[in-house]
Symmetry: C2
Subunit: 720 residues, 2 copies
């Protein structure tokens, strides 16, 4: 396979090489050592070595196999340090308990890139965690970039490299899509699936336990990789959510933007403790992840099918300029079903222009339907398909086309496929096809796939893919701004927070903190006597609300410790005395801080503003419809705190509460700008104070602009 002169050539090249990216050694090594190879075909250690050897790798590969003279006729070395040449990448396949020693030797040899295939680390419990920790520390000592452990390996289809450093059975074909997976087993299924659909990859990485290189660094590498147009990610566990999001926003937006399509699996059961506040109970990890991904331009999908359906359309067709779809079909039924699916996904199937319809009438038989979907009728042959497809693509009111074919007796399947391929060559709008069925249509499908025309067994899938690409496009069109700090009195908030222990602030304390951050807290006073309450009520004006403030009272409706709509001095005094005696009777030991007196808030819409600290993403904001309806409809959305003005507006815009605030059925619009400000202020607050574990403003009463917003009830929980 290689000779001494070969090796020295490699070595020379290796000396000259400049490394513009730390992961180049993983993806484009000039030489690879496979460490721990055995001589038994069908085992992982042998297969990996043999895959590199046989898949056309353009560099040099060295087997490291203690006690073996050669592997597959290639001279073997006892240790990696024994290799006389420079080595860019080491792939370690030793059993888990000796991987650390092999890694140490890689460090000594000066190898900066390592893939650890071996399992038996973090995923197998305490002992494994220790082993993995040891690998991390060795990587730190030697500055090694490590992929794995517990992974399938790495593939680069670039013909200048052509490296299959994995135990995948076959090398995938080259293409414009990169696939990253936390699950190695899924990789084997995906490779098999993709081969059958002729889907090609640029890079294919199983990153396993991500002890060293994470999905974040991999995506950053792929962002600058000229061979990759789209990044597909299968993720089971988010460890550095905040960093992931910041990276994704850079990658998916602006110049050189590439879409990230992700499956994030693993719904978690909510701990009972989370139910203490609304924000806590609603901000389940999965729901938060959905929204946070959206806000970072990561397109989250539910299955492998959806992932590739969208990716092939994005990678192999021009980006559509809009969401208007024309359908050309030889069968009415599937055309209608496709229309249904398109509309469900937000893709419109509009009327065609008059010119287009005239053109269609000229080329189609009288019985054909020249509306959209265009029905070229069951006996249509290639000429009719091509003429119809060209006509709809020429329509300025159409952004993309879907060709549906059912195999009827007159259908010249391959000729139609060739016609579509030819039309695509001059087209500037994306085209997808669905040749329905499974066996008769196969030759046609292969023609389409070879020409990079996305093909879908079901027309509905094409429509779902178009909807997904539409989301990518709209995301790019949206502004991406930064949080803009507002003027706040941080010191006042700090005084309260620093003085308090873990747990809930009392309501009066919470109001002080919120007021310090400019949230619209109503005038209030903590009264200790009925006289004080009545005097303050007279000062701020009637009607007023009274509430007993006590750490023992969590839900305000308990023990009737709340009195609303008090309209005069007498009512205030009666309420004051009444509620205190009720509380005394129900909970004689309750510590009472006082009775909060504030003005009755004018009617308005009730919304909820919340924040909590997510284990992966850090401080997260929540917004939605408040009051009883927050539980009933869970009409809430999430965003990362602190939040930019555009993101705050987007949060409000994407829930139904936003529609309500903008004014429903002729109702007066509420102060949406004020709500945006509130969101930004809460975001700034939880961003500034790490001790705030949870915050609930429920409800914020939102009136028209002339009245504005008022915090009607608020709770803040501090961590330790």
């Amino acid at each position: 396979m290689h000779t001494p002169s070969d090796r020295s050539l490699t070595s020379q090249k290796s000396d000259e090489k400049t490394v513009p990216h730390p992961l180049d050694g993983i993806f484009s090594p000039k030489s690879v050592a496979v460490v721990g190879v055995t001589n038994t075909p069908g085992t992982v250690p042998y297969d990996i070595f043999y895959n590199i050897l046989s898949a056309g790798y353009q560099g040099t590969v060295f087997p490291v196999a203690p006690g073996k003279r050669s592997i597959a006729a290639v001279k073997a070395f006892r240790y990696v340090v024994d290799i006389p040449d420079d080595v860019d990448l080491a792939v370690i396949v030793f059993p888990a308990d000796v991987v650390d020693r092999a890694l140490e030797q890689c460090g000594q040899k000066g190898i900066k890139s390592v893939v650890v295939i071996s399992a038996g680390f973090r995923e197998v419990g305490v002992e494994g965690r220790k082993r993995e920790q040891r690998l991390k520390s060795i990587c730190g000592d030697y500055g090694i970039s490590l992929v794995g452990p517990n992974c399938l390996g790495v593939i680069n289809t670039d013909r200048k490299v052509h490296l299959n450093a994995s135990f995948a059975r076959k090398m995938p074909i080259a293409g414009r899509i990169a696939f990253l997976s936390q699950s190695g087993a899924l990789c084997t299924a995906v490779l098999d699936y993709a081969r059958e659909k002729q889907i090609g990859f640029s890079k294919f990485v199983s990153f396993g336990n991500k002890a060293g290189v994470t999905e974040i660094e991999l995506i950053e590498y792929l962002h600058q990789d000229p061979k990759t147009d789209a990044v597909l990610l299968y993720l089971e566990e988010i460890r550095e959510g905040r960093k992931l999001i910041e990276m994704a926003r850079r990658v998916t937006h602006g110049d050189g933007a590439k879409p990230i399509l992700a499956i994030k699996s693993g719904r978690t059961t909510q701990g009972a403790d989370a139910a203490a506040s609304h924000t806590g109970s609603l901000a389940g990890e999965d729901a938060v992840c959905d929204e946070i991904f959206r806000e970072a331009g990561i397109l989250r999908v539910n299955s492998i099918e959806e992932l590739f359906n969208a990716a092939i359309l994005y990678a192999y067709q021009p980006m559509s300029a809009g969401d208007r779809l024309a359908i050309v079909t030889n069968a009415g039924g599937p055309g209608v079903m496709a229309t249904d699916a398109a509309v469900r996904g937000g893709i419109s199937v509009p009327e065609l222009g008059a010119t287009t319809r005239t053109k269609l009438k000229a080329v189609l038989p009288a019985a054909a339907n020249t509306k959209n979907p265009v029905d070229v009728i069951g006996d249509a042959r290639a000429d009719r398909y091509v003429a119809a497809l060209e006509a709809v693509l020429d329509d300025p009111g159409i952004d993309q086309a879907l060709v549906i074919l059912t195999p009827q007796s007159m259908t010249d399947i391959e000729a139609i496929a060739r016609g579509v391929v030819q039309t695509t060559q001059s087209a500037t709008k994306p085209i997808a096809c669905s040749f329905m069925g499974a066996t008769d249509v196969v030759p046609g499908i292969h023609l389409l796939q070879s020409a990079n025309i996305p093909h879908y067994i079901l027309p509905e899938w094409a429509c779902t893919a178009m909807a997904a690409v539409g989301r990518i496009r709209r995301w790019r069109e949206e502004p991406l701004d930064q949080p803009e700090p507002l003027s706040v009195d941080q010191a006042a908030a700090r005084a309260v927070i620093d003085a308090a222990g873990p747990g809930y602030l009392s309501e009066d304390q919470a109001l002080v903190v919120l007021a310090a951050y400019g949230l619209p807290v109503p005038k209030h006073l903590l009264a200790s006597t009925a006289d004080e309450a009545a005097a303050f009520a007279g000062e701020i004006g009637y009607p007023v609300v009274l509430r007993v403030i006590s750490p023992s009272i969590v839900h305000k409706s308990e023990w009737k410790a709340l009195a609303l709509d008090l309209t005069d001095d007498g009512a205030v005094r009666r309420a004051y005395d009444g509620m205190l005696s009720r509380v005394a009777a129900a909970a004689p030991d309750a510590a009472i801080r006082g009775v909060l007196v504030r003005r009755m808030i004018p009617a308005g819409h009730e919304v909820i503003l919340g924040a909590k600290r997510d284990p992966a993403f850090g401080p997260v904001l929540m917004f939605g419809l408040g009051g009883l309806f927050v539980e009933l409809f869970e009409d809430v959305t999430f965003g990362l705190a602190p939040i930019s003005p555009a993101s705050a507006a987007r949060m409000i815009g994407q829930v139904k509460a936003g529609r309500l605030l903008r004014g429903l059925r002729g109702g007066e619009p509420a102060d949406v700008t004020g709500v945006e400000q509130c969101l930004r202020r809460v975001g700034q607050l939880v961003g500034d104070f790490e001790r705030i574990a949870e915050l609930d403003i429920n409800p914020l009463i939102t009136g028209p602009a002339r009245i504005g917003n008022t915090v009607a009830d608020a709770r803040i929980r501090l961590g330790g």
Copy 2:
């Protein structure tokens, strides 16, 4: 192919034959005439004849081909009347314009079953409609059951018949699923698709324009067909919705129940006129269809994939006793993804019992996961899969199992498939498989499919199929009762309705009609003077509400023609004068019927009760959350009127408004029984009076049982 003696035998048999079902002639004819055959292979007329001839038909086939001596070496006849033998079924393939004459001759010949393949009828406009009408009238004259026109034909795989009277390229394999389609083109795609997945059919019918035999009669036939376990339906247009529903309730429930799985395509744009009432605007045909199908036990799905995924699980595995799923997998990732999909669909993936976990620990390696999903680990071979599968199937807390396989290097795919097949033979719980990938796993998949074990490319699809079968099971467990008429004063309602012209009843009239049907209408009076209003207010007690009643005022908030919460005589007089002068100023020509005075209704939840007449289904009821939220959340459901007690309860139970009424977060439960009664009374009302085109009670104010329900606002629109 056949000899004179053959024919006479057939003819004799035909004489003896008793016809227990009118459609037996379509599906199990002893003899078939193909009318209009040509001698050109590759054309529909020839292909149909040749398909019957070559697919192993067990009866006798006669070509009718004027001017031809024989077709494919079979003696041809000039006209159908020239055939000396009895003919059970005629398949007409003549061009549209002569089909009527051929049909007439079939009648003369005494043929009672006819399939018209030819297109060119209802679907091509006015001329075609006339032609189709003519066919209908001939069928009426001769008592002919007609399938089509404009269809692909009929297939019966029963080996005693084995009839492919269609122009489908190949005969499907025999199976327990019947497929009915309004789209002929879809049939060709479905046949191709099913063949690749080894899905078999009992009957396969393309019913086209349904000029004679409709989907309703076909499903009734399949209900009593011992070869069919499940009915799959592709429907584009519902003509006799009410009849369809009544039939479906019989077929899908009780003894010999068979599920109906349906795709109903074709969302319709809502006419602007429908937006006049809430019920109108919300009860779009598609939303109504969703709910009405559910109420009839028809499982509506969105795609061909979903249709077959659910059907094969139902038809080829025992019905699960519950929704608890165990997953056995050799890869963590796909297991997690399957769990996600299961939970999304309402299928639980519970903890396994202690005994099961002990069993699993005994047979699996230490690193395996004995929780659910059970991870048998990447190097698992057949023995480990079988042991794990048997253990989870033995668990009394598990109702069904899913086996997931990813093709890893040690995976003995075929051995595992054989192991699963063997386990299934003694299992009483349903099992599904997902061997992921596309090429390596194919031999294993074929083994599973041959043993009727449902296989899904993606584990998520298996879970969606299980969710669908779960819905079928739960539907069967629900009671199916009949509407029970309540005591009402029909005459009083009739007096108002008969006296009124088309359009909206005035509110006072609407209240009379509703009160006559026992709906909780508050005490009210139509006052003509301020004195009268004040006197009545004193009589019924304060606070009261006043409203100007005028046909010119449609929305009550217009022109402030409404005054709430009037607490004394003076307030009533001021309000009366004020609102009349406002209306006079804004609309001097408005005809005023008077001012409605009624008591202010105590606070409660606002729900909407509506009814409208659907073109296909007749009178349809709507229920949901009222007030502003009806538009915001469209949390509404539909049911057929009149409605049974159980269905009324189901309607309330399946929307979020129902959860609100039952008492949210410790709130007092509302009078749900009263709301059920209201639904039944509205159902009875619109059932009794065909002239009621639309009815809206919005809101019905629903309080706790001691307060009950009150109609706060109501509108009734009459048709011509």
